[in-house]
């Protein structure tokens, strides 16, 4: 899937669908936290015990981890490693690639299992790919996109951002 424009744009409808998929995955997999990040480290949506983690850092490090692993894959002649799994004493992280562009992360403990997580992730990933396809076709239909919120941005608007 490469029909995206240069920027990733998410609208209300798709955002709701994504959140619904994550909520179901979170329940079905008995997970602590489920989140979706793009490969550049931007968090797109999340569900679960988020107060206990720094989600922004988690997103950036996940993307770094995937990027490094992708680099390793190419070095040895693989296209990509689609799943990464890190096992801890209490918590485990399951990382998978969705639609080549997004990263689905599931954090779980002994109340769940790798087998269950794998199974549920596969289903959720298929649903997320559908949403991605819908986003891509929307992006392709030009004119569909609302005017950029920044279309009429002024220097004053920008200066105001830095006055603290």
């Amino acid at each position: 899937m490469t029909m995206f424009g240069p920027n990733l744009v998410v609208y209300e409808e798709e955002f709701e669908r994504i959140n619904a998929v994550l909520a179901r995955l979170w329940m079905d997999a008995n997970a602590k936290i489920v989140f979706l990040v793009d490969k550049n480290g931007q968090q797109i949506a999340a569900k679960g015990d988020l107060e206990k983690v720094d989600a922004t850092s988690l997103a950036s490090l996940t993307a770094g981890n995937v990027a490094a692993t992708d680099g390793l894959a190419r070095l040895i002649g693989e296209k990509e490693f689609t799943i990464l799994f890190h096992e801890g004493e209490r918590d485990n992280i399951h990382i998978s690639i969705v639609g080549q562009r997004l990263i689905l992360v599931v954090i779980f403990d002994e109340r769940s299992s790798l087998g269950l997580v794998r199974l549920r992730v596969r289903k959720a990933a298929a649903e997320l790919e559908e949403v991605l396809t819908q986003m891509a076709s929307k992006a392709a239909e030009e004119g569909q996109a609302p005017a950029s919120p920044f279309a009429e941005i002024t220097d004053e608007d920008i200066d105001a951002l830095f006055t603290e």
Binding site: V10, D54, S57, S148, F150, E152, I153, L161
Partner: protein
Amino acid sequence: MSFINYASREINCKIVYYGPGLGGKTTNLQYIYERTNPQNKGQLISLATETDRTLFFDFLPLDLGSVRGFRTRFHLYTVPGQVFYDASRKLILKGVDGVIFVADSQEARMDANMESLDNLKTNLHENGFDLALVPYALQFNKRDLAGAVPYDVLFRVLNIKSEPTFEAVAPKGVGVFETLKAVAKQVLHELSKK
């Protein structure tokens, strides 16, 4: 590649600090981190060696407030400047919205500056970007050192497209926010065209 979420009315942009090893990229981020209100920043994450050289990247999320009702977040990254970390530099440039080149003003680092600038061009190209088109600012750091190469000389060698250029002393914060602002401005203007 910025990420615009119309549902939560947020926009995220990625800015990368590039430049030769020991030029002061990490120091720029540290200063920004120190001088930003807690509610406007996340953690500063540094993946560094035991000797404080950047190993993979530094990362600092900054929340700059709202423009036109959209929360504006900048994700600042630094690359590792040491020559042999090239594979990592390439990865970090993925999806970049704006670049800041931190040059080292010392005479002895002129070759390193030029080499790193060439390397930036190559790595942007491999990620599908053209330095001529990317929002970009240039910083001459370490202006406090005796024997720093004169501004004009650095400008002639390192300024490639009349990009905004700043003199800096990163540990003291001189020029740090000015440089960031110059590139943030270009990034937001770029978004307004899309």
